[in-house]
Structures are given as C-alpha cells and as structure tokens.
C-alpha cells in the first residue's frame, strides 16, 4: 500500500492522507468553515459528522480544490488540493452525483476514464462492484436516486484511488440501499484504502467508521473513535427515596457525576470500569434505600452528537475522555484528539 501511495500520490509513509491547518472559508460575513484542523490517517474510515449546514460539504469541496479557502492550509496526499498530484489518487462523490443526463452510465464512466487515462476495463469492474451492470447502458436521466448514488460511487472508484471522499453517500437511498452502501463502504475501507465519509446519519457513521470527527458551525467540536465519543456511560438507579439516594451517591462518587432525571438517579462515568454497581447497591441498601433497578445505559452516538452540537456538553470538564470545545474558535483549537 505504501508503495501504491508513494507511487501514485507522492505522499510518504507516516504522513496523513488529509491534513488541514486552520482551514477557514467565509461567504460574505458568514463563516462556513472555521479554523478547522483535520488529520485523516492512512487506511482508516474517517467519519465527518455534522448537522446540515455544519460545513461538511464546504470542507470537502476545499479538499478537492473546487473552492478556495479564505485562509488556512490543506494538504491531500501530500499535495495542494485540486492539483494533479493531489487528484490522481483521490476518488470522490460530492453531494448529489453529477453526470451527463443524456449519456448512459457506462458512457459517463467512459468519459471520466478517458480524461484520467484509466483502462476502460475498469468500467465493467466498478459497475459490477456497485451492482449497476444491468442498467449500465441506460441513460443516466432514467436512473433512480439510488442508482445515481451507486454510479457516483463507481465513478469515485474508477481510478482505484488510495483515498475515497464520499459526501452523504446514502442520501436518498431506501433502507436496503443504505445497508448495501454501508457494506460496500466498509468493504472499500477494509484494506489500505482511506475513506473520508461525511454524513449526518449517526447509525451510518457508527457502523462504518474507525474514527469520527464532529463539526458544528464550521468548527471541530470533537474527534475520536466511536467508542471514545460514546464513553460517557451512565448508571441508572431507580430508588424509592431519590433525594436521600442522590446525597449518598454524590458523597461516594462526587457531586458532579450525579444527576436526577425523570425520577431516576443518573451516575455518569468516563467508562464502566470507573464505578462498581454492586458496591454502590450495597452502600445504598446499607443506608436503608430500596433499590428497584440498577443498570448501565451507554450513550448513543446520536445523544453524544446532539449534546455536542447543542452545546449542552460543551462545558464538559477537560480531562474526560472526550474534551469538548465550546464552539468558539479560540477554544475549538483545544479539541482533544482522543
């Protein structure tokens, strides 16, 4: 793989496939991407998570040289975005796949293959890879949205790139299509190929990605593996004397880790090994508290994402597994890469 990367892209081993440094894009007085620092390592499937309008597509467009950053710097495969050195190893699909409507899927790929001096035999291979061989000779304008998405992925794969950049690849797909696409992307990223995938769908990112970054308002708010992002586990304790129980538990684990919500005591831990439920249960019972239910509740990526992007957890304490920035760009630079 290193040979492949070096030969085809000029990047050297140990370097990031994508690296941005304070990347910023302003549209008039609106900041779309705000001092973004990204590092995508070789061979990983990297998720780029953010709400609509968070700046995901703008970032990807800058990484492909389609738009110029207002300030900051980006490097893709060791080269400036949009240059031949950078693009030669990158396959991409940005937003909706764009092809000539009157040409067939095969002819559209033929055009791209000839532009990139790719052997024409690759066309059949990638069409088969995305399961589009049967409709390859039909005009693009007759394709369903799912088929268009698959042709977009086929086009991205045409050059056998070392880096795949996919922007919302499951957009418009039905559940079966989404599942197929997830399997395909996971497969594509299973070897040495690096995949950068943007999405606002948590399950998609959760199931596909090795590492994830979350952006909001154009700024990076968190980065880490899915497990690391979800690490804030909660021990839920249902008791009959909730105020007494809260006081006892707070005395044991610290006031800041205990909360009451919907009549249930919630004890937050960085990981499940931090708190021993049986020990807590014994202490409560010893104090005459009747414990009706006690179970772990792992935070879903969705709840973590909502917390991050709504700012609720952005004041979270530093030193936790994931350190959250408060969205201001001065502090967003302090985002921990866990």
């Amino acid at each position: 793989m290193e040979d492949r990367v070096n030969k085809r892209s000029g990047s050297s081993p140990g370097r990031y496939m994508i690296e941005t440094d304070q990347l910023t894009k302003w549209y008039g007085d609106i900041v779309a991407v705000d001092h973004l620092d990204l590092r995508v390592r070789q061979g990983e499937v990297y998720g780029f998570l953010g709400a609509n309008g968070a700046g995901k597509t703008t970032t990807l467009r800058m990484l492909l040289g389609l738009i110029q950053p207002t300030s900051g710097r980006a490097s893709v495969l060791g080269a400036k975005p949009g240059t031949e050195e950078s693009l030669m190893g990158v396959g991409s699909m940005i937003e909706t796949p764009a092809f000539y409507p009157h040409l067939s899927g095969r002819h559209n790929l033929m055009m791209l293959a000839k532009y990139t001096s790719t052997p024409l035999k690759r066309i059949d291979q990638v069409l088969a890879q995305v399961d589009l061989s049967k409709r390859a000779d039909d005009a693009f304008q007759t394709y369903s949205l799912g088929m268009k998405q698959r042709l977009g992925v086929a086009a991205a794969l045409l050059k056998d790139p070392v880096l795949l950049v996919l922007d919302e690849p499951t957009n418009g797909l039905d559940p079966a299509g989404m599942a197929d696409m997830r399997v395909l992307i996971r497969k594509l990223g299973s070897g040495d190929r690096t995949v950068l995938i943007s999405s606002h769908l948590m399950t998609e990112i959760e199931q596909i990605c090795d590492r994830v970054c979350v952006i909001a308002g154009g700024s990076l708010v968190a980065e880490g593996t899915v497990d690391e992002l979800r690490r804030k586990d909660r021990l839920l304790i249902r008791v009959d004397q909730i105020e007494d129980a809260r006081r006892i538990v707070a005395g044991l684990v610290g006031e800041q880790s205990v909360a009451v919500s919907s009549g249930v005591l919630q004890v937050t831990a960085s990981n499940q090994g931090e708190i021993e439920p049986a020990w807590l249960n014994a202490r409560l019972v010893a104090q005459g508290i009747s414990v009706q239910e006690l179970r772990w509740d792992r935070a879903s990526l969705e709840s973590v994402f909502l917390d991050l992007t709504s700012g609720q957890l952005r004041q979270g304490k530093r030193g936790q597994s994931v350190i959250y920035a408060n969205g201001q760009h001065q502090e967003s630079r302090e985002v921990a890469h866990v």
Partner: protein, 284 residues
C-alpha cells in the same frame, strides 16, 4: 501526451455529438441558410417581383457569395447558442464538478472543450456548403442553366472565413456561459446583445456618423467586413439577407485585414477571460 490530449478531445466531441441540441442547431442553421440563400430568393424570383439578376446568386458558381451572407447574421446566433450549451450546460448539470475532481486540471478540461467546439463547427460550415451546392444544382437544373462550379480556392477561403465567424460567436457564448454560470441568462443576454445592441446601433450608424467609431469594433461590423471581400455581405449580384433581410448590415465596413486581426484578438480575449474565470472561481 498527444494520446491523452486526443482522448480528452475525442470524449468532448463524443459529448457534443450525443447531444440532441447540437443536431437541432445544425438542422436549424442549414435550413436557415437554405431558406435565406435559396428558397426565399427563388420563390421571389419566380414570383411577380422577380428580377433577372436574382438567379445568378442562386447558381453553384456563386455558392460562396450566397452562403457567406448567413454566417455573420443568423450563423452568429446559432454559434453563440452552441458555445453556451457546450460549457453552460456543464455548469447547470454540475458535471464540471465531476470533471474538475478528476486528474486533469481545469485548464486541461477547458482546452479539450474548446478544441472539441472548434472541430464541431466544421460540420456546420461543411453542411451548409454541401446543402447549398445541392440547392444550387437543383435550381440550375430547374432553370435549364449550365452548372459552373467556383474555383476551389474561393470555396476554401469562404469556408475558413465562415468558420472563423462562427468560432468568434461561439466563444462569445462560452464567455457568457462561464460568466453567468449557466445557459438561460447567457443565451438571453447573447441574443439581446447581437440583435438589439449591435443590431440597433449598427443600423443607427448608417444615418448618424458619430456612431461609426462605436460600431467599428463590433463583432457584426468585423464579421461582415471579413466576408465582404469574398463576395458576402451583399457584395454579390443578387439580393441577400445582408442587405435586405432581417439581419441587414449596410456598414460601416472596415478593412478585411483589420477585421481578421480584430476577430483573432477577440478570440484570444474571449478564451483567456473564460479560462481565467473558470480557473479562479469556486465551483459551488
């Protein structure tokens, strides 16, 4: 290197060939050329208003003179639309985004598109001359006149001049498409410019001498001046669209060499500005 360039131009040509709009424009262009060069004049000639010298312009010997009249007139509008569609549609379909994220840079893509557009204009010229020749032969046969062909040099010069006129207007279309990032506004503004702005001011210049310096650099003045020495622009013996038709142009003319230089400068300028815009602008 050459092979890559050839491949890229060939796919752009393939793209133009596979577009219905290209063939519709070619058909409309050919029909208009035949209509103004042969059908309307012949009907007039056969009617009560016919004059004996009208027949001469419709015979094969006068093919260059007769057909060249149409190039600066409706040929310009047709070529402008073709130029707009060749680049503007890509912006509308967002396919430039797809092309620009492939290996070659923006300059390479634009060069391939311009080369393909230049080649695609050749069938436009050849088609009109071919159908014009057929029409001339048919009219000669109907009138029982001997068929005399013009010398090859005149025909080739006429075809080259015609191609140049179409190329300049096509590049106007390309520039407008790039500037407006689409097709509708580009075509609308292009037609408005050629017919209303250049047309009206040129017409007024005939009676208001002070307007002549404004008209001299116009595409209309230079393209008509380029074809005039070859027999176009109403210099022939018969009536023509250039003098009598809706695109009538009666001067002021400029020297043909000056016209050639001005048109070449325009071509370089239009290509340069379009390429610069395409290179510098964000593809949003």
């Amino acid at each position: 290197m050459f092979r890559r360039g050839f491949d890229r131009v060939s796919v752009e040509l393939f793209l133009l060939r596979r577009r219905m709009a290209t063939w519709v424009l070619l058909t409309v262009w050919t029909l208009l050329g035949l209509m103004f060069g042969y059908i309307v004049p012949y009907v007039t000639y056969r009617g009560d208003d016919g004059r004996p010298n009208m027949l001469e312009a419709m015979l094969p010997e006068q093919i260059t003179q007769t057909l060249l009249d149409g190039f600066p007139f409706f040929g310009g509008a047709i070529a402008l639309i073709l130029g707009v569609l060749a680049v503007g549609s890509e912006l509308g379909w967002d396919t430039l985004k797809t092309l620009f994220t492939q290996r070659p840079g923006r300059g390479v893509v634009f060069t391939a598109k311009m080369a393909a557009l230049a080649i695609m204009l050749v069938p436009f010229v050849v088609s009109l001359f071919a159908f014009g020749a057929i029409a001339g032969v048919v009219i000669a046969r109907l009138e029982g006149v001997d068929i005399i062909w013009p010398d090859t040099t005149t025909v080739i010069q006429g075809m080259l001049a015609g191609w140049l006129v179409l190329a300049v207007w096509a590049l106007v279309g390309v520039l407008l498409a790039v500037a407006t990032r689409g097709t509708s506004l580009a075509i609308g503004f292009g037609i408005l410019y050629t017919l209303v702005i250049e047309g009206l001011i040129s017409a007024l210049a005939g009676s208001v001498n002070q307007l002549e310096p404004i008209v001299d650099p116009f595409l209309r003045a230079n393209t008509y001046s380029l074809v005039r020495p070859l027999g176009g622009a109403g210099s022939g013996t018969g009536d023509s669209a250039a003098t009598d038709g809706p695109g009538a142009f009666s001067g002021p003319y400029v020297d043909e060499l000056q016209a050639l230089v001005v048109l070449m400068v325009y071509m370089v300028m239009f290509i340069g500005v379009s390429a610069w815009l395409l290179r510098k602008r964000d593809v949003a």
